[in-house]
Point group: D2
Chain length 231, copies 4
C-alpha cells in the first residue's frame, strides 16, 4: 500500500487546505507520486478524508485518531470512522496533538486490528526508543522546536535523526522511519534519506508554497536520487 521513499504531507488545518484547495493539493501530490515513482501520502483535515480518498489513489492518512471503540463518545474520531472514509492509517501523537502513553498503545493496536497503518510521531531519541517499542508501522521523529521554522531537522540536528534511526533499527527493524520539522527543499529530503530515514513528514513548505507541485517535484526527485545512492 505504501512505497518508499515516502513523503507524507500533513495538511494540518491551514486555511490553504480547506475545501477545493485541499483536493487540488492532494491531486498535485498524486501527480508527483506517479511522475517520479516516489511514495507520497496526504493527511487532510478529518472532515475531508472521504472526499480526498475518493479523489486520489495515493494513501490518505488521518491526522489523529482517538483510542475509543465505537460507542457513546461524542466528538471522538475513532478508527472505524476514518477507515470507512478510505483512510489507510493515521498519524498518532503529533506534537500538536499529544496522546497519553496508554492511549498511544491502544490506538496502534486498534489501527492494526482494523488493517490500518499507525504513523507514530516522537520528538526525541528517548521517545523514539519508547515509541519503537510499541511497534508502529511507521515512526516519524519531529523535534517540535523546528516545526514550521524552515530549519530542517536533517541539517540542524542530524544527530537526532541518526540516533532515532539507530534505536528504531535495534528495537524493531521492520518499522519504517521518517523525519520531519523544517523540511523545505529537495536537499533537506536528500539529507534525511542519507541519514538513514525512509522519507519525510512535512507541512507548511508544501501547503503554503507559491507553487506546491514544483516544490514537491523537486523533493521527489531528490528523494529518489538519494534513495538510489543509499542502496
Amino acid at each position: 500500500m505504501l512505497s518508499f521513499p515516502l513523503i507524507v504531507l500533513n495538511f494540518k488545518v491551514y486555511p490553504e487546505v480547506i475545501g477545493e484547495n485541499g483536493i487540488r493539493l492532494a491531486k498535485y501530490a498524486e501527480e508527483v507520486a506517479n511522475e517520479y515513482g516516489v511514495g507520497v501520502a496526504v493527511a487532510p483535515p478529518v472532515t475531508m478524508l472521504s472526499r480526498i480518498a475518493n479523489s486520489v489513489s495515493i494513501p490518505v492518512f488521518a491526522q489523529h485518531v482517538d483510542p475509543h471503540p465505537p460507542g457513546s463518545w461524542t466528538g471522538s474520531i475513532i478508527v472505524e470512522i476514518i477507515k470507512e472514509c478510505g483512510a489507510v492509517g493515521s498519524i498518532v501523537n503529533h506534537s500538536e496533538k499529544r496522546v497519553f502513553l496508554a492511549d498511544i498503545s491502544t490506538i496502534i493496536k486498534r489501527l492494526k486490528e482494523n488493517g490500518l497503518i499507525p504513523l507514530l510521531c516522537t520528538d526525541t531519541v528517548e521517545t523514539t526508543r519508547a515509541g519503537a517499542a510499541l511497534y508502529p508501522d511507521i515512526l516519524a521523529i519531529e523535534p517540535p522546536e523546528l516545526i514550521g521554522t524552515g530549519i530542517p531537522v536533517s541539517k540542524a540536528k542530524p544527530e537526532i535523526v541518526v540516533g532515532a534511526v539507530d534505536v528504531v533499527r535495534k528495537i524493531n527493524p521492520s518499522t519504517h522511519i521518517l523525519c520531519g520539522a523544517g523540511i523545505s527543499a529537495g536537499e533537506d529530503v536528500a539529507k534525511a534519506i542519507e541519514l538513514g530515514t525512509e522519507g519525510v513528514l512535512l507541512s507548511s513548505a508544501y501547503v503554503k508554497a507559491r507553487d506546491p507541485k514544483a516544490i514537491l517535484s523537486s523533493m521527489a526527485e531528490s528523494a529518489i536520487k538519494a534513495w538510489e545512492r543509499n542502496r
Copy 2:
C-alpha cells in the same frame, strides 16, 4: 434555519451510524421533519459531515469543534472546516467531550463570527447559568448520570430542567433551551416541552432503535402536541 420544537439527534460514534447506515438515519430524520413540521437536526461523526449535509436538507451539526483558528493545529476540528462541510453549527462541551471555560467562550465566539450556531451542553443548573452567560444560540442541559440510561431527565429530574429554563430566561431570554439524557419516548419529549424547554437532545434511543423512524415519528408528534398546548 432552525425551527422549534427541535429534536437534535446526536449520532455519537455508535457502530450503527457509520457509513450508509448513518446517511439512512439522517434521511429518516429529514422525512419525519417534513411529515410532522417539527425541527429535527442531526449531529453525525465529523468524517460524515459533508456527506450528510449533501444528502439532507435538515440542519447538520458537528459534535465538537476546537477553539483554534486555521493554522498549524494537526488533528484539530476547527470552525472553518465544519462550515465548509455544510454544518450549520456545533455541539459544544458535551459531557463526553468537555471543554475549558475559556475555550467554550472562544468556540462560541468563533462559531458566531462564522455564521454558525453554538449548541452548548451543560450538566447542572449552576453550569447552565454560567453557560447562558456566554450567550450560545442553543443550550442543552444534560445530567450526564442519566445519559444512555433510558431514564428521562424530564421525568427523573424535572427540577433541574425547570431550574435550567429559569436561569436561561433570566440571563439571556433569546437562548433556546433543550434538555437531554434518557429521552426515549414521545412522552419524554412532551414532558420536556411542558417543563419549558423548546426541544430535546437524544442519541441511543434513536440510533439503536429497532425502528428509528417510528420512534422519531412518535416523538415528533408528541413534541408538536405539547408545543401547541404550551402556546
Copy 3:
C-alpha cells in the same frame, strides 16, 4: 477572614519561592499587611501550604485544586487536603491551569461546602460573566497575554477591567473582584482600584523583585490611598 483592598501574591513555582525563600516571601507579605492595614494573601506551591500556613497569620491559598472527593485519585490535589494544611481557599482556573466548566462548578461548590474560598480566574469580559454566574467569593480577571509582561492590565486594557467589574456587579454583587496581569508598581494597583476592583493578583513583580518588601509596601500604600479616595 479576608480584608480589602486585597493583594494576592501568586508564588507559582518560581525558583525564588522554593523552601526558606518562599517562607521569607510569605513573612514579608505578613509584615506589609500588618503595617499598612491592607489585605495580603499568598498562594505558595502546594508542597509548602502547611509550612507557610503555620508560619504566617495572613490568608494562604492553594494555586489549584482538583474537583474530586477524597478517594482513589492518585496525584490529585483535593479540597480536603489543602484545608487540612490551613489554606483558606484556592485559586481556580488560572490561565496556566485551565479547568473544564463542569469542574469549575464542582470545585467552587466543594470549596464552599468545606468552608473555603474560591478565587476564580477568568480571562475576558465574557468568561467573567460566566464565571460570576458560578458565584465564586472572589473573581480575578487576568488577560493571559499580559501575564509576566510588566504591562499592567489596569493601564493597557482598562475597558476589560471596567467591563469585568460591570458584569460581576450585575450577576452577583457579593463577589469580590480583582484584576491581574502585568501589575508591577503601586500606581498599577491604584489604577486597578480606581477602575472598580477590590484589589490585584500578581506574581513575578513581587517574587522576582530585588526588594520584594519595598515593592509590596509601595503597592499597599497606593492601594489604601486609592481605596479611601473611592469611598
Copy 4:
C-alpha cells in the same frame, strides 16, 4: 536509598490518609520496614510530603510530578518542589493520572537530573516495553481494571506480570520491576515475587485495613520469604 524486595504504599487521597492519620500510616510502614528488613516506601498526598519525609526515615515518593521546570506554571507540581520536601522520587503516569509520552520522558529525565527516582507505572505488556525504553529506575505494571478490586494481578493475570518482567529484562535489566493492582495479602506479594518482580505497589489494602500494620507485616514476611526462595 531503596532496598528490595520493595513494598510501595500509595496513599492516594483517601480520607484515611489526611493529616495525623497519614503520618501514623507512614510510621507503621517505617516500623514494619525496620522489623522485617524489607524495603517499604510511602507516597502520601503532595501536601504532606514534607511532614512525612520529616517524620520517617523510609523513602517518600510523590504521587505525580509535572514536566515543567521552575517558573511561571501556576498549580504545577514540579521536581524541584518535591525534592525540597525530602521526596526521593515520584510515581509517574499512574493510571489515575496519565501523562503524555513526551512528558513522561521529560519527567524521567528531570527527576534523574535532580537525583530523584522515577517510578513509572504502565498498564500492559506493550506499554511496559515502551516504558522500559525510557529507562526509569523502577517500573510498576498495574492493569487498571484490577485496581481496588482485591483481585491480585499476580494471581488473576500472572502472564501480564511475567510478560512485563520479560520485556523489562530485555530492554533495560537495571530497571527494578514491581507489580500492582488488587494486592491484598501476603500471598499476593509472595506470588508477585515468584513471578520475577522485586516487589509490589498497593494502596487501599493498606490504607483502608482495620489493622494496617498487621497486614503490612504479613506482606513483609511473605515478601522476604519469597525473596529468599528466589535467590
